[in-house]
Amino acid sequence: EPEVTQTPSHQVTQMGQEVILRCVPISNHLYFYWYRQILGQKVEFLVSFYNNEISEKSEIFDDQFSVERPDGSNFTLKIRSTKLEDSAMYFCARTSGFNEQFFGPGTRLTVL
């Protein structure tokens, strides 16, 4: 199955700035997810999104984070006021209704 694409591949931002990470899945996918991976560490779940609503979120996904699918296609993750510890790889994933989750190539976020 075709994978998702993510933009940008690398985002550099100043602490306190807002960033928007984008994921472009195929339209028939049901569930979308955001995960992050701090350098050298394991992949951590952030949020799952189904039928245009958050279905599950982790403790990491606090008020600084939000997700939406504004145009029915792109799936975005917004961080309102970035912190140094937000520096990580952010992965979008999707599933078509079965259990398998397929990941995008990721966006590397660097907060200075």
Binding site: Y33, V43, F45, E56, S58, T95, E100, F103, P105
Partner: protein
């Protein structure tokens, strides 16, 4: 709480040999497990999965074994190739109805020529 752990952080094998990567999980309610391969700078790549009602599943050169009694999962890669060098993660989908995957720390597999 939920956790998925790996026995060894690194593993080196000779090209052509078989490799076994192990994973322990703590949530006995987990009903689905996946192995992912992650190459440097890339996203996790789906390798193989297994449901809790099975104890073995085979793919192309890969086999996943599940031992629910001791909550242990393994990935066997046969006839390893240089392209198999990567970090391998196990992940579980634990709580009934939940969609999130809980990942282990990862094992770095190096294939020596």
């Amino acid at each position: 709480g939920e956790s998925v752990g790996l026995h060894l952080p690194t593993l080196s094998v000779q090209e052509g040999d078989n490799s076994i990567i192990n994973c322990a999980y703590s949530n006995s309610a987990s009903d689905y497990f996946i192995w992912y391969k992650q190459e440097s700078g890339k996203g996790p790549q789906f390798i193989i999965d297994i449901r809790s009602n099975m104890d073995k599943r085979q793919g192309q050169r890969v086999t996943v074994l599940l031992n629910k009694t001791v909550k242990h999962l393994s990935l066997q890669i046969a006839a390893t190739q240089p392209g198999d060098s990567a970090v391998y993660f196990c992940a579980e989908k634990g709580i009934q109805g939940a969609q999130k995957l809980v990942f282990g720390q990862g094992t770095r597999l190096t294939i020596n020529p």
